[in-house]
């Protein structure tokens, strides 16, 4: 079976949950940093695309983090 949710969306949301307790700006920067350190470029690109097309499926913290990831 394949996943119903896009894997990048799922993974990004899972990371975000771990940072919910931190102040928003700090959390967003930490999430972005984590993605930079561990994600393959195609995954990052997909996440950036989905932040445009399906923002509703992403945790608001991920959307904040994405702003740090844009070139």
């Amino acid at each position: 079976m394949t996943h119903a949710v896009n894997p990048q969306v799922r993974l990004a949301n899972e990371i975000a949950v771990q940072f919910h307790h931190r102040p928003t700006d700090e959390a967003a920067a930490a999430i972005a940093q984590h993605i930079k350190l561990f994600w393959d470029p195609r995954m990052k690109a997909d996440l950036l695309r989905r932040a445009e097309t399906e923002a509703a499926s992403l945790d608001p913290l991920v959307l904040r983090a994405v702003t740090h990831l844009r070139p």
Binding site: M1, T2, P7, V17, Q18, L37, D40
Partner: protein, 936 residues
Amino acid sequence: MTLMKEPDLGTPAVAGEATVTVEIDGMPMTVPPGTSVMRAAAMTGIDIPKLCATDSLDAFGSCRLCLVEIDGRKGTPASCTTPVADGMKVRTQTPRVEKLRQGVMELYISDHPLDCLTCSANGDCELQDMSGVVGLRQVRYGYEGENHLDLLTDSSNPYFDFDASKCIACSRCVRACGEIQGTFALTIEGRGFESKVSAGGVDFMDSECVSCGACVQACPTATLQEKSVVELGMPTRSVVTTCAYCGVGCSFKAEMRGDQLVRMVPYKDGGANEGHSCVKGRFAFGYATHPDRELEPMIRESITDEWQVVDWDTAIEHTARKLLEVQAQHGPGSIGGITSSRTTNEEVYVVQKMVRAAFGNNNVDTCARVCHSPTGYGLKQTFGTSAGTQDFKSVAEADVIVVIGANPTDAHPVFASRMKKRIREGAKLIVLDPRTIDLVRSPHIQAQHHLRLQPGTNVAVVNAFAHVVVTEGLVDQDFVDARCEGFEEWAEFIARPENSPEATEAISGVPADELRAAARLYATGGNAAIYYGLGVTEHSQGSTMVMGMANLAMATGNIGRDGVGVNPLRGQNNVQGSCDMGSFPHELSGYRHVSDEAVREVFETLWGRPILPEPGLRIPNMFDAAIDGTFRALFVQGEDIAQSDPNTKHVTAALAAMDLVVVQDLFINETAKFAHVFLPGTSFLEKDGTFTNAERRINRVRPVMAPKTGMHEWEIPCRIAQAMGYEMSYDNPSEIMDEIAAVTPTFAGVSFEKLDKLGSVQWPCNDAAPTGTPIMHVDGFVRGKGAFVPTTFVPTDERSTRKYPLILTTGRILSQYNVGAQTRRTANVAWHPEDVLEIHPHDAEVRGIENGDMVSLASRVGETSLKAVISDRMPVGVVYTTFHHPVTGANVVTTENSDWATNCPEYKVTAVQVGLRTPAGPAQDVARQDIPMAVD
């Protein structure tokens, strides 16, 4: 090498300074106080005859063969039980003791079958040797009297026989089972002439025996003897090498007759095991020469075609051409590789080099992703390096031992024996585990606290521990001030009411007062050491939990000396090494991020190819990208991802979607069913290289035979790279280690030459530590200051529901290893013929399930069926199974959930339902089936 007989000094070494001087047969010798006369004599080169003494066991003093005379003392004391005293003058050969010894031997021999010439131990029997040494010339008592010569042989154990007629009742086996192994399966029954060794049950197989072999090793006669020696004869040469099963990394002498392996004998000088072993390394080596092994390369166009055997040149050329075709069509990032934790450092290094330099991307990951990647992340964030802090020996100095989500007696048995020894000496034990693992209550061991937490609540519990430390004033403030940073912020976080034991009780099920008591014991009980396993890492908060434990150790100052620390118990033999060798997609060897330009430059200069500055795909990402169509070819080294990785359907869908899957393994495994190229691998008996164990110890693996496949495994990636146009070649594996040392600061001082000289070294090994580093972070942390990281508990998404009301957790057992590809091909199946589902009596009863029934096990992703075993080791609501057998396919039900930081799969928590399928009927027998006993 000829057969190596290690010296036996009779009694164990005594720690301390050599201050006592004695004279033995006129020769002076200075030894530490407490040393036996026997040992002091052996150190001067004088071997006093002995039978019941051996230097792996405490002296016992029963055989009376080692008698000596001491000036100024009456009688003839036993030298094994007499400690030295300053100025003592000892005579080991006097007419009086000679006569006494002959008398003792005469009695032994009069009750011993005199079939030496046809005995399997001929040439390796201490009774035989001692008869010669004492000059026995006659036996005056005939065989007419009462004797034991008609006693039967117990052949129930698949690996060794017990021939009671040859037993001299020296009790070495009994003591080995207790003192060394800690199982206490054997006793001497009866007294005097009646005394005989008993395994308790009907026979050895029916007893508590775990088949570690320590008694066989200790037996001075042929009474306990390996079946392989009986069948094949005494070996004639030995090669020192390393066990290829678990992360303990035991050293063995592979004892050979010609090119046939007769037995594996644990090596006394082995740094990890010091002469001990478990059933896997000691006996379960038959897979290496099993007829199922594939020895020739094979290719096929499609996975529905028959395999076609080809020669190596064709296989290599075909693989390289296909890889290049995929890249040409789908881009440089469309291919990648997976390295194995079972192969040598050198073999792993060349695979990641092939990926980074010849494939030109960072799409390399290791199967350690699915077990210990959170260890790497968590310890790097807090301490600065991805490895355990201690050597195994360190446990002997621990006063409080905390075992979290690990089951050392099954998964790391030789280390467990050390741990149990320390606990018997009085160290306190705290176990955090949903299951009642063996360690909680075993002979002479009782955990002070067993915190039976709900699966998935580790972080809540470790936070509560730290909460007690911080709020009850138990912080080691001097250590924290001098060595750490981030304490204030962390302490504020951890002191919040939501982290109190009273608050977490509702989540974890651990009673607050018991948790408080355990936390106080950890903080105030002296040296406190944490040992953990996959029950920590394989969770959605695996990395968080690793940081939580590191925080706790720093706050209490339990880092940087003997007896303390935070220690991962690694599953497979070379998990540590495969991680060290740069096989994570974001890190080059020695855990250095690919974005670090200076580091990349080192490699680019040496390799002559650019290294990409961005990470590649991790294993789960590879599967996702395969289904997405952007990742299309995979080289898999010695790893059965289709069986070992979670959510089997997803994995097989990904494999089926790829244009090219290349599998290098010993056997056609589940993954190979999806492969287009099969490249036969070599067993550890053919390998030449190094493994790195869980204590960072680099051990040599030495070949005892030429590769049965005609090609060394390290040559295969080199040849593929060459065929793809990238020059990569070595004359032998020591050159690969030299390259690793040249590019990796923590390995700078490592070479085969040094390993051959010193036996082993623990990294970091470089100019600052030329003989290695047994204990890390002694004067400062690798990252400078130890970093406290707040660890908020976030419950996993995987929760029990009305449809899936139970939680499944998975693990492994002693006699089997990983997906079982090796152990299933040995007589170890005698202990574990199939995977079973362990279920609490209450959960079974409400479902109408009885012991031995076939049951269905279903999660939201898949369903399988297996036999139920009812056991109250599990809490209500939690079921347990192992994943050693492909027919069960426990991973059919595990999900895509993973650790947030590393994507290590959440094997330990899956919501499931269990239902009755076919009742067992009265005749079904599950009795001999081991109840699986592990979380790790």
